[in-house]
Protein backbone atom coordinates (compact mmCIF):
# COMPACT_ATOMS: atom_id res chain seq x y z
CA UNK A 1 0.00 0.00 0.00
CA UNK A 2 1.57 3.31 -0.99
CA UNK A 3 0.02 5.02 2.04
CA UNK A 4 2.63 3.26 4.16
CA UNK A 5 4.48 6.35 5.24
CA UNK A 6 1.37 8.30 6.04
CA UNK A 7 -0.21 8.62 9.43
CA UNK A 8 -3.62 6.91 9.41
CA UNK A 9 -6.34 7.03 12.04
CA UNK A 10 -9.29 4.70 11.54
CA UNK A 11 -12.35 6.42 12.95
CA UNK A 12 -14.70 3.44 12.93
CA UNK A 13 -13.92 -0.01 14.28
CA UNK A 14 -16.17 -2.36 16.28
CA UNK A 15 -14.69 -5.00 18.58
CA UNK A 16 -16.00 -7.75 20.84
CA UNK A 17 -18.43 -10.66 20.77
CA UNK A 18 -22.13 -10.66 20.12
CA UNK A 19 -24.55 -13.42 19.14
CA UNK A 20 -24.07 -12.50 15.51
CA UNK A 21 -20.57 -11.09 15.11
CA UNK A 22 -17.11 -11.60 16.63
CA UNK A 23 -13.98 -9.51 16.23
CA UNK A 24 -11.18 -9.66 18.78
CA UNK A 25 -8.80 -6.95 19.85
CA UNK A 26 -5.87 -9.12 18.71
CA UNK A 27 -7.36 -9.54 15.22
CA UNK A 28 -7.79 -5.79 15.02
CA UNK A 29 -4.19 -5.03 15.97
CA UNK A 30 -2.96 -7.61 13.46
CA UNK A 31 -4.96 -6.01 10.62
CA UNK A 32 -3.84 -2.53 11.71
CA UNK A 33 -0.20 -3.66 11.58
CA UNK A 34 -0.61 -5.37 8.21
CA UNK A 35 -2.18 -2.28 6.69
CA UNK A 36 -0.07 0.41 8.38
CA UNK A 37 -2.93 1.86 10.36
CA UNK A 38 -1.49 3.84 13.27
CA UNK A 39 -4.49 4.38 15.47
CA UNK A 40 -8.13 3.39 15.65
CA UNK A 41 -11.23 4.53 17.45
CA UNK A 42 -13.01 1.49 18.84
CA UNK A 43 -16.55 0.92 19.99
CA UNK A 44 -18.33 -2.34 20.91
CA UNK A 45 -19.62 -4.58 18.16
CA UNK A 46 -23.33 -4.29 17.46
CA UNK A 47 -25.48 -6.41 19.76
CA UNK A 48 -26.73 -6.30 23.35
CA UNK A 49 -23.92 -3.89 24.26
CA UNK A 50 -26.12 -1.22 22.73
CA UNK A 51 -29.28 -2.30 24.53
CA UNK A 52 -28.98 -3.28 28.19
CA UNK A 53 -25.28 -4.14 28.56
CA UNK A 54 -23.81 -0.70 27.91
CA UNK A 55 -22.07 -0.45 31.29
CA UNK A 56 -20.31 -3.72 30.59
CA UNK A 57 -19.50 -2.42 27.09
CA UNK A 58 -17.79 0.72 28.37
CA UNK A 59 -15.67 -1.27 30.82
CA UNK A 60 -14.69 -3.59 27.99
CA UNK A 61 -13.66 -0.65 25.80
CA UNK A 62 -11.74 0.96 28.69
CA UNK A 63 -9.82 -2.32 29.31
CA UNK A 64 -9.17 -2.81 25.60
CA UNK A 65 -7.70 0.63 24.99
CA UNK A 66 -5.57 0.39 28.14
CA UNK A 67 -3.81 -2.63 26.56
CA UNK A 68 -2.82 -0.59 23.51
CA UNK A 69 -2.52 2.95 24.83
CA UNK A 70 -0.61 4.26 21.81
CA UNK A 71 -2.91 2.69 19.27
CA UNK A 72 -6.49 2.99 20.44
CA UNK A 73 -9.10 5.52 21.51
CA UNK A 74 -12.54 4.49 22.72
CA UNK A 75 -16.10 5.72 22.27
CA UNK A 76 -18.76 5.12 24.93
CA UNK A 77 -22.15 3.49 24.46
CA UNK A 78 -25.29 4.30 26.38
CA UNK A 79 -28.93 3.58 25.64
CA UNK A 80 -31.10 6.72 25.77
CA UNK A 81 -34.12 4.67 26.89
CA UNK A 82 -32.38 4.39 30.30
CA UNK A 83 -32.78 8.15 30.89
CA UNK A 84 -30.73 9.39 33.82
CA UNK A 85 -28.85 6.11 34.15
CA UNK A 86 -27.56 6.65 30.62
CA UNK A 87 -26.47 10.22 31.33
CA UNK A 88 -24.59 9.20 34.49
CA UNK A 89 -22.87 6.32 32.68
CA UNK A 90 -21.81 8.65 29.87
CA UNK A 91 -20.25 11.12 32.31
CA UNK A 92 -18.40 8.29 34.04
CA UNK A 93 -17.13 6.87 30.73
CA UNK A 94 -15.70 10.20 29.67
CA UNK A 95 -14.36 11.43 33.04
CA UNK A 96 -13.16 8.16 34.60
CA UNK A 97 -12.56 5.86 31.64
CA UNK A 98 -11.16 8.61 29.45
CA UNK A 99 -13.32 7.66 26.44
CA UNK A 100 -13.38 10.30 23.73
CA UNK A 101 -16.96 10.45 22.52
CA UNK A 102 -20.42 8.89 22.48
CA UNK A 103 -21.78 6.45 19.92
CA UNK A 104 -25.49 5.90 19.40
CA UNK A 105 -27.08 3.22 17.21
CA UNK A 106 -30.74 4.18 16.65
CA UNK A 107 -31.71 1.10 14.61
CA UNK A 108 -30.52 -1.26 17.35
CA UNK A 109 -31.56 0.91 20.26
CA UNK A 110 -35.03 1.51 18.91
CA UNK A 111 -35.76 5.19 18.31
CA UNK A 112 -35.68 7.70 15.51
CA UNK A 113 -32.42 9.60 15.54
CA UNK A 114 -34.18 12.97 15.78
CA UNK A 115 -36.57 11.93 18.57
CA UNK A 116 -36.77 14.02 21.74
CA UNK A 117 -35.83 11.08 23.94
CA UNK A 118 -32.18 11.66 23.12
CA UNK A 119 -32.24 15.41 23.87
CA UNK A 120 -31.19 15.07 27.56
CA UNK A 121 -28.22 12.98 26.48
CA UNK A 122 -27.34 15.54 23.81
CA UNK A 123 -27.28 18.24 26.47
CA UNK A 124 -24.81 16.19 28.48
CA UNK A 125 -22.71 15.60 25.33
CA UNK A 126 -22.66 19.36 24.82
CA UNK A 127 -21.53 19.97 28.42
CA UNK A 128 -18.78 17.37 28.13
CA UNK A 129 -17.62 18.91 24.84
CA UNK A 130 -17.32 15.55 23.10
CA UNK A 131 -18.31 14.48 19.59
CA UNK A 132 -21.07 11.98 18.91
CA UNK A 133 -20.93 9.19 16.31
CA UNK A 134 -24.12 7.88 14.68
CA UNK A 135 -24.20 5.35 11.82
CA UNK A 136 -26.14 6.96 8.98
CA UNK A 137 -27.95 5.53 6.01
CA UNK A 138 -31.37 3.95 6.01
CA UNK A 139 -34.15 5.11 8.33
CA UNK A 140 -34.29 5.66 11.29
CA UNK A 141 -31.04 7.60 10.81
CA UNK A 142 -30.78 9.05 7.33
CA UNK A 143 -28.45 12.04 6.88
CA UNK A 144 -31.37 14.49 6.81
CA UNK A 145 -32.89 12.94 9.93
CA UNK A 146 -29.50 13.41 11.62
CA UNK A 147 -29.42 16.99 10.30
CA UNK A 148 -32.71 17.61 12.11
CA UNK A 149 -30.94 16.67 15.35
CA UNK A 150 -27.88 18.72 14.36
CA UNK A 151 -30.04 21.81 13.90
CA UNK A 152 -31.37 21.48 17.47
CA UNK A 153 -27.81 21.10 18.86
CA UNK A 154 -25.62 23.30 16.66
CA UNK A 155 -22.73 23.19 19.16
CA UNK A 156 -22.42 19.41 19.15
CA UNK A 157 -20.24 17.87 16.45
CA UNK A 158 -22.05 14.89 14.99
CA UNK A 159 -20.22 12.31 12.89
CA UNK A 160 -22.37 10.49 10.37
CA UNK A 161 -20.89 6.99 10.15
CA UNK A 162 -20.81 5.63 6.57
CA UNK A 163 -21.66 9.09 5.11
CA UNK A 164 -25.12 7.86 4.17
CA UNK A 165 -24.05 4.22 3.66
CA UNK A 166 -25.22 3.10 0.21
CA UNK A 167 -28.28 4.80 -1.30
CA UNK A 168 -28.41 7.71 1.13
CA UNK A 169 -25.43 9.44 -0.44
CA UNK A 170 -28.24 11.44 -2.00
CA UNK A 171 -28.96 13.12 1.36
CA UNK A 172 -25.32 13.74 2.25
CA UNK A 173 -24.81 17.06 0.48
CA UNK A 174 -28.09 18.68 1.58
CA UNK A 175 -27.49 17.58 5.19
CA UNK A 176 -23.90 18.81 5.34
CA UNK A 177 -24.73 22.07 3.58
CA UNK A 178 -27.48 22.71 6.07
CA UNK A 179 -25.42 21.96 9.22
CA UNK A 180 -21.78 22.84 9.74
CA UNK A 181 -21.62 20.61 12.79
CA UNK A 182 -22.09 17.46 10.67
CA UNK A 183 -19.10 15.29 9.75
CA UNK A 184 -18.89 12.30 7.43
CA UNK A 185 -16.99 9.10 8.20
CA UNK A 186 -16.31 7.53 4.83
CA UNK A 187 -16.47 3.75 5.31
CA UNK A 188 -19.07 1.74 3.43
CA UNK A 189 -20.23 4.66 1.31
CA UNK A 190 -20.27 3.03 -2.08
CA UNK A 191 -20.61 6.00 -4.36
CA UNK A 192 -17.13 7.47 -4.85
CA UNK A 193 -18.32 9.95 -7.48
CA UNK A 194 -20.94 11.34 -5.11
CA UNK A 195 -18.39 11.61 -2.29
CA UNK A 196 -16.02 13.48 -4.56
CA UNK A 197 -18.73 15.95 -5.47
CA UNK A 198 -19.66 16.60 -1.83
CA UNK A 199 -16.00 17.03 -0.88
CA UNK A 200 -15.50 19.48 -3.74
CA UNK A 201 -18.54 21.49 -2.65
CA UNK A 202 -18.03 21.63 1.11
CA UNK A 203 -14.32 20.89 1.59
CA UNK A 204 -12.36 18.00 3.09
CA UNK A 205 -12.35 19.41 6.62
CA UNK A 206 -15.46 17.53 7.65
CA UNK A 207 -14.55 14.05 6.39
CA UNK A 208 -12.85 11.21 8.24
CA UNK A 209 -11.27 7.95 7.16
CA UNK A 210 -12.83 4.81 8.65
CA UNK A 211 -12.86 1.09 7.84
CA UNK A 212 -15.96 -0.31 9.57
CA UNK A 213 -13.92 -3.34 10.56
CA UNK A 214 -14.93 -6.14 10.67
CA UNK A 215 -17.77 -5.35 8.24
CA UNK A 216 -15.50 -3.83 5.62
CA UNK A 217 -11.69 -3.75 5.48
CA UNK A 218 -8.81 -1.21 5.16
CA UNK A 219 -7.83 -2.79 1.82
CA UNK A 220 -11.19 -1.66 0.40
CA UNK A 221 -11.52 1.60 2.29
CA UNK A 222 -7.98 2.89 1.62
CA UNK A 223 -8.53 2.13 -2.06
CA UNK A 224 -11.54 4.43 -1.89
CA UNK A 225 -9.48 7.28 -0.46
CA UNK A 226 -7.06 6.84 -3.37
CA UNK A 227 -9.92 6.87 -5.87
CA UNK A 228 -11.03 10.26 -4.50
CA UNK A 229 -7.87 11.57 -6.12
CA UNK A 230 -7.15 14.32 -3.61
CA UNK A 231 -4.07 16.43 -3.01
CA UNK A 232 -1.55 15.24 -0.39
CA UNK A 233 -2.73 17.89 2.07
CA UNK A 234 -6.35 16.92 1.60
CA UNK A 235 -5.57 13.24 2.03
CA UNK A 236 -3.75 13.94 5.30
CA UNK A 237 -6.73 15.82 6.64
CA UNK A 238 -9.04 12.91 5.91
CA UNK A 239 -6.60 10.25 7.08
CA UNK A 240 -5.78 11.75 10.48
CA UNK A 241 -5.71 15.54 10.93
CA UNK A 242 -9.46 16.06 11.01
CA UNK A 243 -9.82 13.18 13.46
CA UNK A 244 -7.37 14.62 16.00
CA UNK A 245 -8.98 18.03 15.74
CA UNK A 246 -12.42 16.60 16.32
CA UNK A 247 -11.24 14.57 19.31
CA UNK A 248 -9.40 17.59 20.65
CA UNK A 249 -6.11 15.72 20.78
CA UNK A 250 -2.80 17.40 20.15
CA UNK A 251 -0.26 15.41 18.22
Amino acid sequence: MDFKNKMIIDFNVEIGNSIEFKFSLEELIKIMNENSIDKAIVSPIRGRYYIDLFKEANKYIKDSISKYKDRLYGFAIVNPWFNNEATIELRKSIKEYNLKGLKLFPSIQGYKVNHEIIYPLMEEVNKLKIPIFIPSGYPPSTPLQIADLAEVFPEVNIIMGHSGFTTFWLELLPAMKRCENLYGELSCQTNVRALKEVIEKIGVERFLYGSSLPFSHPIIEIEKIKLLNLSKEEEEKILWKNALKLLNIKK
Binding site: G137, Y138, T167, T190, N191, F215, S216, H217, E223, L227
Partner: protein, 249 residues
Protein backbone atom coordinates in the same frame (compact mmCIF):
# COMPACT_ATOMS: atom_id res chain seq x y z
CA UNK B 1 -5.40 -13.87 -9.46
CA UNK B 2 -3.50 -13.13 -12.66
CA UNK B 3 -4.74 -16.27 -14.36
CA UNK B 4 -8.37 -15.74 -13.34
CA UNK B 5 -10.93 -14.74 -15.88
CA UNK B 6 -13.56 -12.24 -14.84
CA UNK B 7 -17.10 -11.56 -15.97
CA UNK B 8 -18.61 -8.45 -14.46
CA UNK B 9 -22.34 -9.17 -14.34
CA UNK B 10 -23.56 -5.64 -13.72
CA UNK B 11 -22.57 -2.61 -15.81
CA UNK B 12 -24.32 0.26 -17.53
CA UNK B 13 -24.21 1.94 -20.91
CA UNK B 14 -23.57 5.26 -19.21
CA UNK B 15 -21.28 8.21 -19.99
CA UNK B 16 -19.15 9.90 -17.33
CA UNK B 17 -18.20 13.57 -17.78
CA UNK B 18 -14.53 12.73 -18.45
CA UNK B 19 -15.27 10.29 -21.29
CA UNK B 20 -13.77 11.41 -24.62
CA UNK B 21 -14.31 8.39 -26.85
CA UNK B 22 -17.48 6.36 -27.30
CA UNK B 23 -19.02 4.81 -24.20
CA UNK B 24 -18.08 1.31 -25.32
CA UNK B 25 -14.44 2.25 -25.91
CA UNK B 26 -14.20 4.02 -22.57
CA UNK B 27 -15.75 1.04 -20.77
CA UNK B 28 -13.33 -1.33 -22.45
CA UNK B 29 -10.43 0.89 -21.39
CA UNK B 30 -11.60 0.59 -17.77
CA UNK B 31 -12.10 -3.18 -18.15
CA UNK B 32 -8.59 -3.59 -19.56
CA UNK B 33 -7.12 -1.59 -16.72
CA UNK B 34 -8.62 -3.83 -14.03
CA UNK B 35 -8.44 -7.02 -16.18
CA UNK B 36 -12.11 -7.74 -16.69
CA UNK B 37 -12.86 -10.00 -19.66
CA UNK B 38 -16.56 -9.37 -20.15
CA UNK B 39 -19.16 -6.93 -18.90
CA UNK B 40 -22.94 -7.28 -18.78
CA UNK B 41 -23.96 -4.06 -20.50
CA UNK B 42 -27.31 -2.70 -19.38
CA UNK B 43 -29.33 0.34 -20.35
CA UNK B 44 -29.03 3.48 -18.23
CA UNK B 45 -31.05 6.29 -19.80
CA UNK B 46 -33.35 3.61 -21.16
CA UNK B 47 -34.48 2.94 -17.61
CA UNK B 48 -36.33 6.25 -17.52
CA UNK B 49 -36.78 7.03 -21.24
CA UNK B 50 -37.98 5.04 -24.24
CA UNK B 51 -35.23 2.39 -24.38
CA UNK B 52 -35.34 1.77 -28.17
CA UNK B 53 -32.43 4.04 -29.03
CA UNK B 54 -30.27 2.70 -26.22
CA UNK B 55 -31.03 -0.88 -27.23
CA UNK B 56 -29.63 -0.01 -30.66
CA UNK B 57 -26.51 1.51 -29.10
CA UNK B 58 -25.97 -1.49 -26.83
CA UNK B 59 -26.51 -3.81 -29.78
CA UNK B 60 -23.92 -1.88 -31.84
CA UNK B 61 -21.42 -1.94 -28.96
CA UNK B 62 -21.96 -5.70 -28.74
CA UNK B 63 -21.49 -6.14 -32.51
CA UNK B 64 -18.24 -4.22 -32.33
CA UNK B 65 -16.94 -6.10 -29.28
CA UNK B 66 -18.81 -9.42 -29.13
CA UNK B 67 -16.23 -10.98 -26.82
CA UNK B 68 -16.34 -8.14 -24.30
CA UNK B 69 -20.01 -7.31 -23.76
CA UNK B 70 -23.10 -9.24 -22.72
CA UNK B 71 -25.91 -7.01 -23.99
CA UNK B 72 -29.06 -6.38 -21.93
CA UNK B 73 -32.45 -4.84 -22.72
CA UNK B 74 -34.96 -3.14 -20.45
CA UNK B 75 -38.70 -2.52 -20.46
CA UNK B 76 -41.07 -0.37 -18.49
CA UNK B 77 -43.93 -2.66 -17.47
CA UNK B 78 -46.40 0.25 -17.56
CA UNK B 79 -45.87 0.54 -21.32
CA UNK B 80 -47.53 -2.82 -21.83
CA UNK B 81 -47.72 -4.22 -25.35
CA UNK B 82 -45.50 -1.54 -26.82
CA UNK B 83 -42.72 -2.42 -24.39
CA UNK B 84 -43.29 -6.14 -25.01
CA UNK B 85 -42.93 -5.61 -28.75
CA UNK B 86 -39.66 -3.80 -28.19
CA UNK B 87 -38.44 -6.70 -26.04
CA UNK B 88 -39.44 -9.08 -28.83
CA UNK B 89 -37.20 -7.03 -31.15
CA UNK B 90 -34.38 -6.97 -28.58
CA UNK B 91 -34.41 -10.71 -27.84
CA UNK B 92 -35.74 -12.08 -31.14
CA UNK B 93 -33.92 -9.95 -33.69
CA UNK B 94 -30.96 -8.36 -31.89
CA UNK B 95 -30.39 -11.43 -29.68
CA UNK B 96 -29.73 -9.42 -26.54
CA UNK B 97 -28.91 -11.72 -23.66
CA UNK B 98 -30.54 -10.38 -20.54
CA UNK B 99 -33.33 -8.22 -19.15
CA UNK B 100 -32.63 -5.44 -16.66
CA UNK B 101 -35.51 -4.09 -14.59
CA UNK B 102 -35.23 -1.28 -12.06
CA UNK B 103 -38.34 -1.27 -9.87
CA UNK B 104 -37.35 2.01 -8.16
CA UNK B 105 -36.70 4.04 -11.32
CA UNK B 106 -39.51 2.33 -13.22
CA UNK B 107 -41.89 2.50 -10.23
CA UNK B 108 -43.37 -0.97 -9.92
CA UNK B 109 -43.31 -3.66 -7.27
CA UNK B 110 -41.59 -6.87 -8.41
CA UNK B 111 -44.56 -8.88 -7.10
CA UNK B 112 -47.12 -6.80 -8.99
CA UNK B 113 -48.65 -8.96 -11.79
CA UNK B 114 -48.06 -6.06 -14.18
CA UNK B 115 -44.52 -7.45 -14.57
CA UNK B 116 -45.57 -11.05 -15.36
CA UNK B 117 -45.72 -10.77 -19.21
CA UNK B 118 -42.15 -9.43 -19.17
CA UNK B 119 -40.92 -12.32 -17.05
CA UNK B 120 -42.66 -14.71 -19.46
CA UNK B 121 -40.92 -13.04 -22.39
CA UNK B 122 -37.53 -13.51 -20.70
CA UNK B 123 -38.37 -17.16 -20.00
CA UNK B 124 -39.40 -17.62 -23.64
CA UNK B 125 -35.95 -16.47 -24.78
CA UNK B 126 -34.18 -18.11 -21.83
CA UNK B 127 -32.41 -14.95 -20.65
CA UNK B 128 -31.71 -13.97 -17.02
CA UNK B 129 -33.48 -10.99 -15.44
CA UNK B 130 -31.55 -8.61 -13.19
CA UNK B 131 -33.52 -6.52 -10.70
CA UNK B 132 -32.15 -3.65 -8.64
CA UNK B 133 -32.77 -4.39 -4.94
CA UNK B 134 -31.92 -2.76 -1.63
CA UNK B 135 -34.21 0.24 -1.31
CA UNK B 136 -37.73 0.62 -0.05
CA UNK B 137 -40.46 0.83 -1.41
CA UNK B 138 -40.08 -1.32 -4.53
CA UNK B 139 -36.59 -2.71 -4.04
CA UNK B 140 -37.16 -5.09 -1.14
CA UNK B 141 -35.67 -8.58 -1.58
CA UNK B 142 -38.78 -10.46 -0.45
CA UNK B 143 -40.89 -8.76 -3.15
CA UNK B 144 -38.53 -10.20 -5.72
CA UNK B 145 -38.48 -13.53 -3.88
CA UNK B 146 -42.26 -13.77 -4.34
CA UNK B 147 -41.82 -13.29 -8.08
CA UNK B 148 -39.03 -15.88 -8.20
CA UNK B 149 -41.25 -18.42 -6.42
CA UNK B 150 -44.08 -17.66 -8.84
CA UNK B 151 -41.81 -18.20 -11.89
CA UNK B 152 -39.43 -21.01 -10.97
CA UNK B 153 -38.21 -21.31 -14.58
CA UNK B 154 -36.98 -17.71 -14.56
CA UNK B 155 -33.34 -16.98 -13.75
CA UNK B 156 -33.48 -14.02 -11.39
CA UNK B 157 -30.43 -11.96 -10.43
CA UNK B 158 -30.96 -10.04 -7.22
CA UNK B 159 -28.83 -6.99 -8.04
CA UNK B 160 -26.84 -5.58 -5.09
CA UNK B 161 -28.07 -8.50 -2.90
CA UNK B 162 -30.15 -6.11 -0.82
CA UNK B 163 -27.52 -3.33 -0.96
CA UNK B 164 -26.57 -1.82 2.43
CA UNK B 165 -29.32 -2.82 4.77
CA UNK B 166 -31.28 -5.74 3.33
CA UNK B 167 -28.57 -8.35 2.75
CA UNK B 168 -30.13 -10.54 5.39
CA UNK B 169 -33.42 -10.63 3.47
CA UNK B 170 -31.47 -11.25 0.26
CA UNK B 171 -29.83 -14.35 1.74
CA UNK B 172 -33.16 -15.58 3.11
CA UNK B 173 -34.72 -15.08 -0.33
CA UNK B 174 -32.00 -17.07 -2.04
CA UNK B 175 -32.48 -19.85 0.52
CA UNK B 176 -36.18 -20.01 -0.36
CA UNK B 177 -35.87 -19.79 -4.14
CA UNK B 178 -33.01 -21.57 -5.90
CA UNK B 179 -33.58 -19.63 -9.12
CA UNK B 180 -32.26 -16.51 -7.36
CA UNK B 181 -28.64 -15.42 -7.89
CA UNK B 182 -27.12 -12.72 -5.69
CA UNK B 183 -24.89 -10.07 -7.21
CA UNK B 184 -22.24 -8.49 -4.96
CA UNK B 185 -22.47 -5.04 -6.54
CA UNK B 186 -22.61 -2.27 -3.95
CA UNK B 187 -23.22 -4.64 -1.03
CA UNK B 188 -20.88 -3.05 1.47
CA UNK B 189 -20.43 -5.69 4.13
CA UNK B 190 -17.77 -8.16 3.19
CA UNK B 191 -18.93 -10.42 6.02
CA UNK B 192 -22.46 -10.36 4.60
CA UNK B 193 -21.17 -11.76 1.31
CA UNK B 194 -19.16 -14.39 3.20
CA UNK B 195 -22.30 -15.31 5.12
CA UNK B 196 -24.25 -15.64 1.87
CA UNK B 197 -21.62 -18.03 0.49
CA UNK B 198 -21.83 -20.13 3.66
CA UNK B 199 -25.63 -20.27 3.52
CA UNK B 200 -26.35 -20.83 -0.19
CA UNK B 201 -22.95 -21.85 -1.54
CA UNK B 202 -20.77 -20.04 -4.06
CA UNK B 203 -22.72 -21.33 -7.07
CA UNK B 204 -25.34 -18.58 -6.94
CA UNK B 205 -23.15 -15.56 -6.21
CA UNK B 206 -22.09 -13.26 -9.05
CA UNK B 207 -19.40 -10.63 -9.00
CA UNK B 208 -20.63 -7.27 -10.32
CA UNK B 209 -19.50 -3.65 -10.17
CA UNK B 210 -22.32 -1.39 -11.45
CA UNK B 211 -19.61 0.38 -13.45
CA UNK B 212 -19.27 3.16 -14.36
CA UNK B 213 -21.97 4.31 -11.92
CA UNK B 214 -19.95 2.83 -9.02
CA UNK B 215 -16.20 2.26 -8.89
CA UNK B 216 -15.10 -1.05 -10.36
CA UNK B 217 -11.74 -0.89 -8.52
CA UNK B 218 -13.53 -0.88 -5.19
CA UNK B 219 -16.05 -3.56 -6.07
CA UNK B 220 -13.38 -5.91 -7.38
CA UNK B 221 -11.09 -5.32 -4.41
CA UNK B 222 -13.96 -6.22 -2.10
CA UNK B 223 -14.58 -9.58 -3.76
CA UNK B 224 -10.86 -10.35 -3.97
CA UNK B 225 -10.51 -9.69 -0.23
CA UNK B 226 -13.20 -12.20 0.78
CA UNK B 227 -12.09 -15.06 3.02
CA UNK B 228 -13.02 -17.81 0.56
CA UNK B 229 -11.30 -20.59 -1.38
CA UNK B 230 -9.77 -20.12 -4.82
CA UNK B 231 -12.45 -22.40 -6.26
CA UNK B 232 -15.23 -20.28 -4.76
CA UNK B 233 -13.60 -17.17 -6.14
CA UNK B 234 -13.43 -18.68 -9.64
CA UNK B 235 -17.13 -19.47 -9.48
CA UNK B 236 -18.05 -15.97 -8.34
CA UNK B 237 -15.77 -14.10 -10.73
CA UNK B 238 -16.43 -16.16 -13.84
CA UNK B 239 -18.05 -19.55 -13.97
CA UNK B 240 -21.47 -18.77 -12.50
CA UNK B 241 -21.89 -15.86 -14.88
CA UNK B 242 -20.56 -17.89 -17.82
CA UNK B 243 -23.24 -20.48 -17.06
CA UNK B 244 -26.23 -18.16 -16.90
CA UNK B 245 -25.08 -15.95 -19.80
CA UNK B 246 -24.18 -19.08 -21.82
CA UNK B 247 -20.57 -18.07 -22.42
CA UNK B 248 -18.39 -20.96 -23.55
CA UNK B 249 -15.78 -21.71 -20.89
Amino acid sequence: MDDMRIIDSHGHYMALPYFKKSIEEELIAIMDKVKIDMLALMPYEGLYKDPKEEHDKIYNAYKKFPNRFIPFATANPYNGIEALNELERAFGIMKLKGLKLHPIVQSFSPCNPIVYPFIEKAIEYDVPILFHTGDPVYGMPFQLCELAREYKEATIIMGHMGLGEYWYDAIRSAEKADNIYLDTTGCRYKIAIEKAIKKIGANRILYGSDMPFLSVELELKKVLSLNISKRELELILYENAAKIFKIKI
